[in-house]
Amino acid sequence: MSKCYKNSKSRISPRHLSHKYPSLYIRLRRLLLSLIMAANDSGETTSKKEAFDAEACSLLVRKLKETFASGKTRSYVWRVSQLEALAKIFDDNQPQIVDALRDDLAKPPLETVVYEVAMLRNSCKVALKELKHWMTPEKVKTSMTTFPSSAEIVSEPFGVVLIISAWNYPFLLSLDPVIGAIAAGNAVVLKPSEIAPATSSLLAKLLGDYMDNSSIRVVEGAVDETSTLLQQKWDKIFYTGNGRVGRVVMAAAAKHLTPVVLELGGKCPVVVDSNINLKVAARRIIAGKWGCNNGQACISPDHIITTKEYAPKLVDTLKTELEKFYGKNPLESKDLSRIVNSNHFNRLSKLLDDDKVSGKIVYGGEKDESKLRISPTILLDVPQDSLIMSEEIFGPLLPILTVDKLEESIDVINSGSKPLAAYIFTTNKKLKEQFVRTVSAGGLVVNDTTLHLAVHTLPFGGVGESGVGSYHGKFSFDAFSHKKAVLYRSFIGDASVRYPPYTNTKLRLLKALIGGSLLGIIRALFGFS
């Protein structure tokens, strides 16, 4: 199959097909793959895929538990070897990664290289650099209450963890948590999204080839396989996706008291004030919206809130900048991802067909079902009870809500569920601080969008409907570690105040000891309190 890709001049090459007729291409490819797999009789992989039932799943988990119990994954050497292997995956296979993402999402190569590969490389680098420091037990001070003693907090891996990833940044959202899990010394099962099948199978292949198979495995599949996986007892589950499946994951985890991290989504608002550098703001909004997988990102600006007065100016600048970025025919632009599949295409079309927003489209609105493409679309003055404002858009549609005074925008945001991110463009210090203080979201950015994803010293996670837990940088390591409290006491210095028989003197001494005041203790010892 790979040989076909070299001949890009042929009009009926798979690459040509995948660009021009993505949905058809996907269907043909799947058919071909299933035919090949059926004919393949060395089918170890095939039969494993077909028979991934509860028994196979139990066996997998048991084997991983055995590996973990042997202590293999806890050593610094192992963790470094796996992180280096991951880094090698990115270095050696960039073209294949770009191709897979092009197949699954028509993702522009630059977006793949920068937002998926470069970010992962960075993550690996940070982990490799800091790992020794992260693994070192943290010594903590002890007080008079436990004198004499010494104490430390030791980070231990949980054991065998399950990571369920999403389709929109299939590489990044699969491997970033894996980096954290490995750095923390766990054994891992990764379940990539079936909605990005090329990436899913590439991940299975690459992790199978490069990583330690006795402790890191990929299970491909859809709802059935995920349900089977969720029935097992995991030591931690890390899920990236939507709130509906997030609930299914948490419910399954509750049966085994498994702690979870849920990275969900939400409607990330952008508040735009008037006294700003509008050109730069518009560019940053566009980069965060259409420049991020064509709006199919959990932290993409979902909608804008601005004043009635300023809206026309904003719309004009957005139009100008959009044309600079994507040309006069954005539907054809190679610099935009397509919509992932017909399900989502239909979902987004419905949002545009809603009666409540008819006549509100001020830019774009073009669709091409055969290519699963929707052009960057701006809607102005959409009513708050329209379909497009009732769910996370996750696509290239940008509604603009208008208010009389910009302060109202904060109330609008707080009346909805807490989003994963919220953005504001303003130079008004008071508004800035009010926004930061009162808007509750996973993360906030002032005068830009989506950037906080790249800052590894910031925790990345949601609150409320947008999720539970966080990761990135050391937060990833912590998310996959149990912080064990260790207290060292000696046999010397035994304060009998703790033990019965209880007397008033002991009570006085206890009060002084727990109060921690030396003077108090002396007074108690001499019977003065």
Binding site: K141, T146, V154, A254, V436, N447, Y499
Partner: protein, 484 residues
Amino acid sequence: METELNHMREYYEGGYTKEASWREAQLKGLRSFIIEKQEDIMNALLQDLGKHQVEAFRDEIGTLMKTLNLALKNLKKWMSAKKAELPKIALLTSAEIVPEPFGLVLIISSWNFPFGLSLEPVIGAVAAGNTVVLKPSELSPACSSVLASGLATYLDHKAIKVIQGGPQETQQLLHQRWDKIFFTGSAHVGRIVMSAAVNHLTPVTLELGGKCPAVVDSLSSSWDIEVAVKRIAVGKFGTCAGQACIAIDYVIVEKEYCSKLVELLKVWIKKMFGENPKHTKTISRIVNKHHFFRLKNLLADAKVNESVVYGGSMDEQDLFIEPTILVDPPLEASIMTEEIFGPLLPIITVGKIEDSIKFLRSRPKPLALYVFTKSQTLQRRILSETSSGSLTFNDAILQYAADTLPFGGVGESGFGMYHGKFSFDTFSHHKAIVRRSFLTDFWYRYPPWTLNKLQLLEVSYNYDYLGLLLVVLGLKKPSNRRHF
């Protein structure tokens, strides 16, 4: 109930609880409550659990005072934003992490340390700026009502409420929408709580239990073994008669050392609890008939009964069970498969003390693990080869009082942690904030995409400043990019 909670939410939206002054006032209010109502508190504990006032002070009142003082002293520091480091390329950009309250939190507490386990989380929740509903356990009713009246009097009743009741009220509460749930109790109810939390994707902290083992090495010095025995005796029988999540559940010791350990235990039990513990009132009672009979049944099995070497007497009227020691009861018996939560101490013997590691690893992870040894090798092995919520060497229970150590479980013993600053963090959402300027805008962030822009982005992401310079000057060759 829903209306009451809506009012609390509205009050929260008003922003009052976010103010440092409000939080301080609540913490000071709690401190006054504990100081002024100390007698009521001690009487309630005596009534519900037969807990001696010194035990009450040592384990609940004293520790709460310590926590309150710590919280008041450090509140401003805990509330402050923490700057996050940024790479040099991020010119004119700042990043910080700001803790914010979740909103309306539910705290469900337990009956064995009704004040401690209710108020320690409340302190954390209030310090973090949340509004709180506390549901104390109905199995300790006197304490429950002291808490209800106390908190209503001393704290802001619009933001902090106590809702008393049993399983029905708890179920009703669990159906509501909470921004965080903090639960202390059994694994069985823990599962119910977490399942209820799924509906609204509410984050939970579960402080559960488990069988906390004490591994006792063959200590050679007589001073050492005496101290160890004292700490074990108080860590089992002296802590609410063994009805504590971190009480020593059972002991593991080398076969040869067992009789010495048992003899010393007998001596010290008598010294601490008197010849007639029922009359000296130094040991707490069993909380109610249900638990009394549960414990009685643990000894019902013939083989288990045979293994009793000390104690065993019970008084149903008084809900009293004498400190009891067993040696090597059958491992399949309930006494060795369920959390005992009472004053029955099984001692399991092994050939070599190192065998205890295998024993521990084959069982669910406990909330606490205690190891009495001077051997650094054994200490190191247990530290790295076993897992538990916490690990304490040469003592027991004391880790509860250490503010700088996180208190929480792992696996079957729960997840999440609190105490000290960890309480504040557990009730806070750590919000990431990035502030950018309009002045620094990198043109290569934006399409239309070119190879040059790709190069620039790659070096930027690698913080490769020299590379950046070279690319800008046109001096760096692009690597093979056939996909462009």
